[in-house]
Amino acid sequence: MLAHAELDRLSLAHVDCDAFYASVEKRDNPALRDRPVIIGGGKRGVVSTACYIARIHGVRSAMPMFKALEACPEAVVVKPDMEKYSRVGRQVRSMMEALTPMVEPLSIDEAFLDLAGTEKLHGAPAALVLARFARQVEEEVGITVSVGLSYCKFLAKVASDLDKPRGFSVIGQEEAVSFLQKQPVTLIWGVGKAFAATLGKDGIRTIGQLQTMERNELMRRYGTMGDRLYHLSRGMDERGVKPRSEAKSVSSETTFNTDLSRMEDLVPVLRALSERVSARLKEADIAGRTVVLKLKTAEFRLRTRNRQLGDPTRLADRIFHTGLELLKREVDGTRFRLLGIGVSDLTDAGRADPQDLVDGLSHKRALAEGAIDSLREKFGKQAVETGYTFGRSKVARPQRDGDD
């Protein structure tokens, strides 16, 4: 398969699913396999993922849908099913976690893995383990991944992109500097359009140019970013793989197809989202003590409001009612494009929702919720609903891509 002088010594990998959403849709609908597929849409349509066939026609993510369809009129547009993608993403992640506990997810479909010290366990060097992993994902999940293997995070991520899709690239310590020399500065993590323009004004376009500059000079010009330029341009990256630290909060949010401003439109969404948060808390056997409401206005202004509870909770009822109190104060005719609810201050569920001396009603509601949960477990999620969401089942699902 691969030959590389340092192959046995490299253990830091970046794994990235190829055209993730599109691949999942193609997997589930073979009729799409050989056709250009674009995931995206809704009324605010932008492309969220384009399959490789569509990419050949020039379709790129974040492109407005009408432009994408100009470039590729025969494309099939599929609305994103975020719930499905996160399920598949979790499946892939658990396969990664079977290889090493040192997995640092970056998003739903990509992660860093550090396989150092697992050679004995797997009876094989990291490179081989990763190759097997890629094949396993293809066979068991039905999508493809690209792997980048290197000695540091920066180059592992760069490597996974080199040979996409279904790629496996290695960048060793030896060739790091010469490899980087020819690359554009935008390859460096943190150098986006704006910063690249700043660098361009100073005549810096390639990483090779940065390699010839002194650290002091770079820092004087670009501050802390200069320090990063100095190190990364020379392939020096000390950041280690940090396995996903324990979640600090659990939340769920959605962007609306059309901006909403009325309580009666927002409340069902809040209820549905509260139930999602609650379900995840119950599944993980954790609870949170602070309820956080998040709103984004039509003008993209973010409003977050939080409230601490007396006790940690994992009940949809408490999350919803606390969120409702917070929401009432914000609804003043302002049009919102996004609503989210979550809990932070997480603890284990043991002390959540104790019986209350003076509030007998909350106990009854907790019992009712327990009954709803067991009904849903038996007969599915639609088996029973509260009046808040009844007949508006769609609101529970994210309405746009990018939600989780």
Binding site: R307, Q308, Q355, L357
Partner: protein, 372 residues
């Protein structure tokens, strides 16, 4: 304004009023203390718009007048002046600054006009009665710890003070609860309190009041309406808004049919709870009480660090029972009880438990058990 007074007098008064002033204020005047010199005393007043404290300090008034200066700043200055110093407060001609002079020290503080200082309009009080400071202190201290801090249930963020007919006489009762525990104290209702509305005194007011009633044998005058309360304690007057809400029907919560009685030496019990709870890393972990004839075994299990048990002799004759409580709540209650023996009345592991001093029914505590 030109005033001369003793540093200790000024400090004592500032100490009473400056605490009311919030450290951070969006309205600048609320950071200030109002000083007004008239007759033979200097009046100090501070407010946070919900609570107002005024105090009169004996002073030599050379020139009457009034101004406002930053409260915490003035307090810190006076605090650092040498003991026994004589302090002069003097405003500039134009009233934009006030000098604080003592010995060779001299400070100039920027003033805000006294006309901007907000007045907490007291309105008319419907009831007035007198209490001994020790009685008021007891009503507060025995219940204060159970006040809730939960914002969602703002009506629990204070002490519920009301009168009630009980055992043939009218009682003045204080009650506080956070949903996990409830504390109730009472005394014979003083003359004038009959027919007063049930009121909820906010936590901050309770805290200030507690510091003011520390001196024993001082008569406290209480005036109240259904929106405001005023306490006059010596030269200090504290006026506060009340929490606008309905306190829940706490009577319903106090168990009456608990038949399992446990009597235990209060001190021994408190020390034992304190010892075994050392093992629990976080506050609020449960202590399990395994109660059988003649003894109680306290157990704390912390999956991360280990476990602890302690056995205590106790007076108990009912069926054995296992019940868990938040360790801190047990300690809080044990600290408030004053008798030698504490009496627990239990029903089962999931029902509220009643705790009292053995032989004193007037003060009682209700604890909600925890799952163990």
């Amino acid at each position: 304004m030109r005033v001369i007074l003793e540093r200790s007098t000024l400090l004592k008064s500032l100490n009473h009023v400056h605490r009311v002033v919030e450290r951070r204020n969006t309205i600048p005047i609320l950071s200030n203390v109002l000083l007004s010199a008239d007759g033979a005393s200097l009046q100090l007043k501070a407010t946070d718009l919900d609570l107002e404290v005024t105090e009169a300090a004996g002073a030599t008034i050379e020139q009457a007048g009034a101004t406002t200066v930053p409260a915490h700043l003035l307090y810190d200055i006076v605090r650092k002046l040498p003991d026994g110093a004589e302090v002069m407060l003097k405003t500039d001609e134009d009233g934009n600054a006030m000098s604080v002079m003592a010995g060779r020290s001299s400070f100039r503080l920027q003033c805000l006009p006294q006309s901007d200082f907000p007045e907490l309009s007291a309105g008319n009080f419907s009831h007035i009665f007198r209490l001994d400071s020790a009685d008021l202190k007891a009503l507060i201290e025995k219940t204060q710890f159970a006040i809730s801090t939960e914002e969602t249930r703002y009506y629990l963020n204070g002490i519920f003070l009301h009168t009630i007919e009980s055992e043939g006489s009218l009682k003045l009762r204080s009650v506080a609860t956070d949903g996990h525990r409830l504390a109730r104290a009472e005394m014979e209702a003083p003359a004038g309190s009959e027919g007063m509305p049930g009121i909820i005194i906010p936590r901050k007011t309770v805290g200030e009041l507690q510091k003011l009633v520390d001196a024993p044998d001082v008569a406290v005058t209480v005036e109240l309406s259904d929106t405001k309360i005023r306490f006059t304690i010596g030269s200090v007057i504290l006026t506060s808004k009340l929490i606008d809400g309905t306190f829940p029907d706490y009577q319903r919560v106090i168990p009456t049919g608990n038949d399992k009685q446990l009597v235990i030496d209060r001190q021994t019990f408190a020390s034992a709870v304190d010892r075994v709870s050392t093992i629990s890393s976080e506050r609020g972990r449960a202590v399990k009480l395994t109660i059988a004839e003649g003894q109680v075994t306290l157990t704390v299990n912390n999956p991360d660090s280990g476990s602890a048990t302690e056995e205590l002799a106790a007076d108990y004759e009912s069926d054995p029972i296992e019940i868990g409580f938040n360790a801190r709540y047990l300690l809080d209650v044990a600290a408030q009880l004053s008798g030698g023996n504490a009496r627990f009345l239990l029903a089962d592991a999931g029902s509220p438990t009643l705790v009292q001093d053995e032989g004193d029914e007037s003060t009682l505590y209700v604890l909600m058990p925890m799952r163990v």
